[in-house]
């Protein structure tokens, strides 16, 4: 494993003025990811909650989420590059387009799959529409919503790596620059960093899920192993199919 030397050189971490190091690329990658998720959440959370709450347009959400799975991320990135030009805007639009469907599907199916008797009970206690949504439906939908966030996060970290091809910074630069310089240790070092970032980010969200979701729901989720497929209408929670 002579490849790993590249990863553990302090020179490579610090970088230089014209050649940014690992630390800076990592910060860039995290920045793109956070910005994309923020924009996508602002779009998808209210829309998904509204669709799930009213039940209007649910089939459309599932259809769009399924269709987007076939959309090649590289093609989208190149197309937006040709349309918008070099810079952050093109890749950012592509990343948001890819992050919205899993978030939307997670929020929608989370809210739509809340046990109807729970919603009835909330109404029977005198809760109004918004109260039912915020105090009952959204907390109950949290496991599926966070599931959507996890898919979106992985999608964005992966695609941001590929976006290095159309000139974006971030950890993908090491893979692309390593390729053009025939510097394989750099390529492999970069790919290991991206993989580690994805794994750590996913584990952190898994931990967050345990902290945020009500204990009663977590227990039920654990018991519902075999029947889960049929429990979740819309199916967004079960397939975290990847597109990047």
């Amino acid at each position: 494993m002579t490849y790993l030397g590249w990863l553990f050189s302090s020179e490579n971490w610090a970088g230089s003025a014209e050649n940014p190091g690992i630390a800076q690329r990592l910060v860039e990658h995290l920045g793109y990811t956070a910005l994309t998720l923020l924009i996508a959440l602002v779009i998808a959370l209210p829309l998904g909650a509204w669709i799930g709450h009213t039940g209007r347009g649910g089939l459309m959400v599932v259809g769009i989420a399924n269709a987007l799975r076939a959309l090649p991320t590289l093609g989208l990135l190149v197309l937006l590059f040709l349309a918008v030009g070099l810079g952050l805007l093109g890749p950012l639009i592509a990343l948001v387009i890819l992050a919205v469907p899993p978030l939307l599907a997670g929020t929608y199916s989370g809210v739509a799959n809340v046990d109807p008797s729970i919603v009835d009970a909330a109404k029977g206690m005198g809760m109004r529409g918004p109260e039912v949504l915020f105090k009952v439906e959204l907390p109950n939908a949290l496991p599926l919503i966070i599931g959507g966030v996890r898919s979106a996060l992985l999608q964005v970290i992966s695609t941001a790596t590929i976006a290095a091809y159309v000139g974006l910074g971030g950890l993908g630069r090491f893979i692309l620059d390593g390729l053009s310089q025939r510097d394989f240790p750099q390529m492999i070092g970069g790919s290991i960093l991206v993989a580690l970032l994805a794994i750590v980010a996913d584990l952190l969200l898994g931990g967050l899920q345990r902290l945020l979701v009500s204990p009663g729901l977590q227990q039920r989720g654990a018991q519902a192993g075999p029947g889960r497929l049929r429990l979740i209408r819309g199916g967004a929670g079960t397939d975290r199919a990847r597109a990047a």
């Binding site: 490849y3 089939l59 076939a70 959309l71 991320t73 590289l74 093609g75 994805a198 199919a241």
Partner: protein, 221 residues
């Protein structure tokens, strides 16, 4: 679409490559997922082991996996084999869970009656449980195939063939038509393969047709 007709030779060649690169992994993944899914379904240890490993593999970004596979499996860095192995890993990771869930969903009464009729466990698995699990496995297979078709294009970033080349060439020569044609062709291929799998599933499980219409009718949307 004009662009496609003027370059039909290239397009056909790339489409052919694309089909091989994306569907061979689906076959490999499926063949490996059935025994592993069976294992996950049988024992608690097998379940937690296979599902956790699958979840872990699924987390790895594709471009990263294409690049760091060669030192692990001993191939050259731009060998097409890397893409095939990497995509097989994703298909396997997706289908293991599906196969385990599908086997879980086979009604116990059916398994018990097969046992009472004298089926041995191995034969019962092949002739009763596995066919009963086909509809759910097929749903997973469709997702795996579509996502595999879309994922192959990422390999073109590091020089692999297939329709992804339409994107890299479209980028280098700044031809939007080529890029758009590439996207349309990938989507078309995905739709066709998805439709063929759906059709294959219907032919394989004639008994499921009446059950399916009942199920959709009973489902409140």
């Amino acid at each position: 679409m004009d662009w496609v007709f003027r370059n039909s030779g290239l397009v056909l060649e790339l489409t052919g490559q694309h089909i091989v690169f994306s569907l061979v992994p689906v076959l490999i993944g499926l063949v490996l997922a059935v025994p592993l899914g069976w294992l996950a379904n049988r024992t608690a240890l097998g379940r937690s082991l296979t599902l956790n490993v699958a979840g872990f593999l699924y987390t790895l970004p594709s471009l990263a996996l294409f690049v760091f596979l060669p030192p692990i499996i001993g191939t050259r860095i731009l060998d097409p084999l890397n893409v095939i192995v990497a995509l097989s890993v994703y298909v396997l990771a997706l289908l293991v869970r599906t196969v385990a869930d599908a086997l879980d969903a086979v009604p116990e009464t059916v398994v018990n009656s097969a046992t009472a009729m004298g089926f041995r466990p191995g034969w019962r698995f092949l002739t009763v449980e596995l066919p009963m699990a086909v509809p759910v496995i097929l749903a997973g297979l469709r997702v795996a195939a579509v996502s595999s078709i879309s994922l192959v294009t990422v390999g073109s970033v590091i020089g692999f063939g297939g329709l992804g080349k339409m994107f890299t060439e479209g980028f280098q020569r700044e031809i939007p038509q080529q890029t758009i044609s590439g996207i349309v062709l990938v989507l078309l291929l995905a739709v066709v393969v998805d439709g063929l799998l759906l059709l294959a599933g219907r032919t394989l499980t004639p008994w499921d047709r009446s059950a399916r219409s009942r199920r959709t009718a009973g489902r409140a949307v």
